[in-house]
Each structure stands twice: as structure tokens, then as C-alpha cells.
Subunit: 361 residues, 2 copies
Amino acid sequence: MSSELDNEQELPQQHAVTIHDVARAAGVTIGTVSKALNGQGKLKEETRERVRAVALRLGFRPNDLAQSLLRGRSFTVGLITTDSYGRFSIPLMSGIEDALGSAQISVFLCDARDDAVREQQHINSLLAKRVDGIIVTGRRIDARVPIDVGNTNTPVLYAYAQVKEADALCLLPDEAQGARIATEHLLAHGRRRLAHITGPSYFEAVQLRQEAMRQVLKEHGLDLPGHRALAGPWQEAWGHRAVGFLLEMDPGIDGIFCGSDQIARGVVDALRERGVKVPADVAVVGFDNWEIIAAATRPALTTVDMNLHELGRIAGTRLLAMIAGEKASGIIRLPCSLIVRDSCGVHTLGTAERRKEDQGD
Amino acid sequence: MSSELDNEQELPQQHAVTIHDVARAAGVTIGTVSKALNGQGKLKEETRERVRAVALRLGFRPNDLAQSLLRGRSFTVGLITTDSYGRFSIPLMSGIEDALGSAQISVFLCDARDDAVREQQHINSLLAKRVDGIIVTGRRIDARVPIDVGNTNTPVLYAYAQVKEADALCLLPDEAQGARIATEHLLAHGRRRLAHITGPSYFEAVQLRQEAMRQVLKEHGLDLPGHRALAGPWQEAWGHRAVGFLLEMDPGIDGIFCGSDQIARGVVDALRERGVKVPADVAVVGFDNWEIIAAATRPALTTVDMNLHELGRIAGTRLLAMIAGEKASGIIRLPCSLIVRDSCGVHTLGTAERRKEDQGD
DNA sequence: TTGTACGCGTTATCAG
DNA sequence: CTGATAACGCGTACAA
């Protein structure tokens, strides 16, 4: 074993191997190495091969910092989550990373913990690192204040977050459409006396959904009286309690649209405990498609999926376009889907046809 | 409004403002600017102030890329999650970011989706970006294969992940200790006929916990016969089903230690449906302290918390130390805590004293 | 076909 | 006290 081999394999080089090292080892200059490795210019094939071999042998990795400095682009973007990442962030982040990853872009993760100064620190850090763009995410009750990127004209996109500035681009789930398909599903299953058990009414999402539900009912000549629209905390226990109020005031209810799967679970459990059959007597639709809850509920929840992974993917794609120079602004609402399980009966064809639900556990 | 002001406020400069711009505007050279802004060298206070003012006015932000290139340190680390981020990743990531954030270090998020080539791409990208260190995370059934950082001597730390290499540093929750405190808690509440309902036995965590539980029981002159240790899928439905098997074979059970809060929830629900009182007749302890499940269960679950946020924090801190030059290796197990709620009775003093549980809903 | 030299934005070391 | 200049690692016109 020659000492040369020792150097290569055993001594972890203190300073990472640079293009100069490769040039020296290959007996050429750095210009030649660069051309050989990037397939630029005109080189003798033999030289190119030799340089490549040496680079490989030395484990040469081009320094992205130097490249970024030169190109004026870092191929990184910042991802800011305002409320520390709740469960909604997971599909969202995963979708964003999907889109960005396939464009060879790395993502800086910043958790602002809902703290303004902390957030600004993160932003400053991102700008100092010359990120190509920033995605801001994190559901809030009302529109948040836009982030301040100073004079940097760094593209910013809000995903599952909203600001009032007209020139900002916000991607949001279409809450109204989500409520609409849920309500229509209940109606399609022949339910006519519907109720809504949901979260605090100061959430914009709550208002949008309730409004949409009311609208759909109206289109069918039905209504949603106040005592059938119950707002409370986003908790399973609230769903459980609300069923008590509801049945006491209006025992004829035959369908309930819930503002979250957690609430829906509380609702379904409470109904079962009272001997009310789901979906035979009362059909239930949830919201969020939080699998771990929706699938564990008995019967499994039919629920609205906000398609947050897809929303994230689109956010990433749109940001790439903005980085490429596209101007974009406004609020874009992306459609929700209905995930049909068992809590509403299984059949979804037509409006009248009904079939006995076969409850597989 | 002068045209100067126009330039500053309305025209978003195409190229970010550099130290040269500041120097020119302040009528000094870049060296002076650097010193003024970094508090280095000896400068007339008036000059320093003037330069600072100009820098602020121009919105100058030092380019971290250039600094990193020069210093040979990027002040970034990579975070690789192997299994796409499950719910365990959230407290973990948050803890890691806590520790790293307070050291002014930014985090690259990489989701490997449990795909080896994707993972290696991410690693190559991180190395090209000259990250100062890498944290690998993501629970797996068995030890994973170590990541390949080539010849870069980049510090690597495994958090909530495990490799067999002896010179790697792995941070893991102390599963055995977690099982021990759960079991001892049940015993302290006077339970003597304990059962264990948990996940698939090919998980190392499952084996470690079961072994520990058995050990504790042995120390108290008790045992855990095979028919009281039930392994199944990590699902609520499994807990629900398992209760049936258990009670059929051994109706005298007075305490159940569950492998997850989801399983525990299934267990508690099944017990209630059978008219078995929790905790009066049977006490239940869960695992994970997954608040949303544990708190929604009636009665709320007493459960083991793996302290993953703290584990993440420590991971971040240790990585910083490694970046600073500290050599570290081996497996470090961090203690779990018991979160006492209602599913086991409320009193935890002494071993015999018991009090009527007051079930607040 | 290959080598040279400049610039990207900083910091730090010397002169002045 | 301040100004000029050399790095850091790379890509690329331009010269040889």
C-alpha cells in the first residue's frame, strides 16, 4: 500500500478538497478542471476523462457557497411556520419539499413560534443567506401581518396563511367549497334536517364554511336555524357535549357536518352512547381527513380533505415561478376533496338511491 | 421629495446592496466599512457612526455566503428525516431548532421519504452547501445504515435513530426506563395482575419495554405470563380487540400498560363498553403522551412521555459541541417521564394509600 | 486544446 | 486612524 493511497483513504483532509487540488493532481489548471467537470468548452476527451477520474478519486465536491456567490443565486428557500408546526404543517411541508426538491433546491426550516421578533430574526438570517424565496405558512385566526424583507425584492408566498396586502400571493384551501361538498353529500344521502357542530366562530374558516353550508341548504329549500349551528372549542369533548344540546333541542336531526375530525369523533361516540345509529339514524361528515382519527372512529369518518400536500406542492411550484421572474398576487383557493368512508353511508351515486351500509371493522 | 429618496425607497435595487455601495455612499473604503460595522480595529467614532448610518439607510445586509466562504463555516446544519415526518418528528425538530437557533444556526430540512437514493441526494446537496453538521432522525424498526459523508469529516449525530457503527453518536429515549416507571406506577397503585398490550414484537422498542416490565414485576415477585403480553399493530383498533382476548382469558386483570396512547385509547373505550370501570376496576397507562389522544380519552390517560423535545434540544447542543471539535460516540439513552392524568387513579404517593379518583370532565 | 486572470462579497493583514 | 490588497472556491471570457 503506497503512501499515496494512505493519504487518500485514511487521512480525512482537514480542508475540503478544492478545484485546485484536483488540478494539481491531474496536472492541469483549474480552468481545465472546471470545463471538464461541467462539460463546457472544448477539451480532449482523454483529458476530460482523466480529470473526472481524479476528481472522483479525490472525492471532489464543488462548493455551492462559491457557486452561489458567483451566480447570485443560492438555490435555497426559507420556510417559515408561524404557529409551531401543528399537524397541518406536516403534509404542507412535505408537499413544498416535494416541489422544491425536484428543482434541486434546499429548504431552510424556521419555526417562529408565533413570536414576532423571533420571526424577524429568522427572516433576517434567511435574507443574509440570500435565499431565493420565502414561503410563509401556518394557519391563523385572522390575516397575519406580512413579513418584512426590506429592500430585497425576495419573492414571498403565503401558503395556508393569509395577509391583507393586495400584492401578496396567498394559497388557501377553499373552505366554502369544502363545506359545500360535505353538505351536498349529506343531502345526496337523503338527509334533510342538518346540523353543524364546529369551532369558534371568530375563525374565518368557521364563518366561511357555515355560510357555504347555509347557502347550499337554501338552494335546496332548507335552512340552518341558529340552534343547529353550534360553535365551540376545537376539541373532541366539545363534539361530545354538543350532541347533548343538539338532541335535546332538536331530536329530529338526521345529519351533522362537523368542523373537524376530532369534533366528529366526539359526536359519533356521543351518538353511539345514546343508542343513536350512525349512519342509519344520523349521518356524520368530518373535516380535515386526519387519518389517525378518521379511520379509528367507528364507523370510520367520511370527511373533507383539504389536500394540504397538494397545496404545498403548488406553493413550491408557484414560488419557483416567482423566482424565475413571474409576478403573482392575490388569493388562490384550492379545492378540497371528500373522502368517503362509513359515517354517512357508503353509496354516493345519484341523489336518491340508498343502500344498506356494510360496516366492515 | 428628492430623487435621492426616490431611489432609496421606491426602486427595489436589482442587485442587493454590497459593502462597496456602502463604502461609496459613505466616502470611505470597504475595509473601513467592515471595521465600522463589526466593531473591529480603531476608528474615529464619528466615522463609525456615519458608516453605520449609511449602512442602515441603504439597508445593507452582509452576505453570509461570502462570509461562509471565507470562514470555512456555513453556520448551517442539515436535518434528515428518514421516515417522512411523522408526529414524533415535530417535537424533535422543534427541540433541535431550539438549540441550533439560539446559536444562530439555520437548519436545512430534508425528507428522505425512506428512500436511500433520495437520502443520498440530500446528503450530497448538504455537503455541497458545506453544512457544519448533520442530524439524522426518524424511528425505524431496526438500526439503520449510517449515512455516507464521504471524506468530509462532517459531524453526524443520530437522534431518535440508531446505527450499529460504534463510532457514531446516537441519542435515544430510554424505552426500558419508560416501561419501568409505567409499571412501577401501576404497582404503586396496588395493581398486581398486570397485562401489556403493545405493538409488533419485531420493534426493538417493544422488546425493550416488555423486558423491562417483566423485570420490574419479577423484582416484586410477580410475573408477566405470555397470555398477558399481547403484540399487534400500532392501532387503536388493536387495543380495542385485544381487550376482548385479554378479559376472556384472564378476567382478573387489574392493570394494563399499553405500547401507545392510540392502543390505550382503544383499550379504555373497550373496557368502558364492557362496563369495566377505569381506573377503579382496571388501571391503564399509555405511551407517547400524544396530548390530543391522551387528553381526549375518558378518563384522560396517564402515560409515558419520551421527552422528544428535550431529546431534540440535547441533540442540537451535542452537535454544536461536535462541530466545535468534541469527539463523541456511543448510544445515549435519555429518560422518559410519567405524565399522570386520570386513567390510573390520581394519587401517586406511597404504595398503598389510595383515594377515590375524582373524575372531572 | 489548454492556461490566465478577473469577479462574486467578505474579512483580515499590512502599509501608510 | 484609514486605505489598499490578499485570500476564500468557483466559473468563464479571453489569450496563448
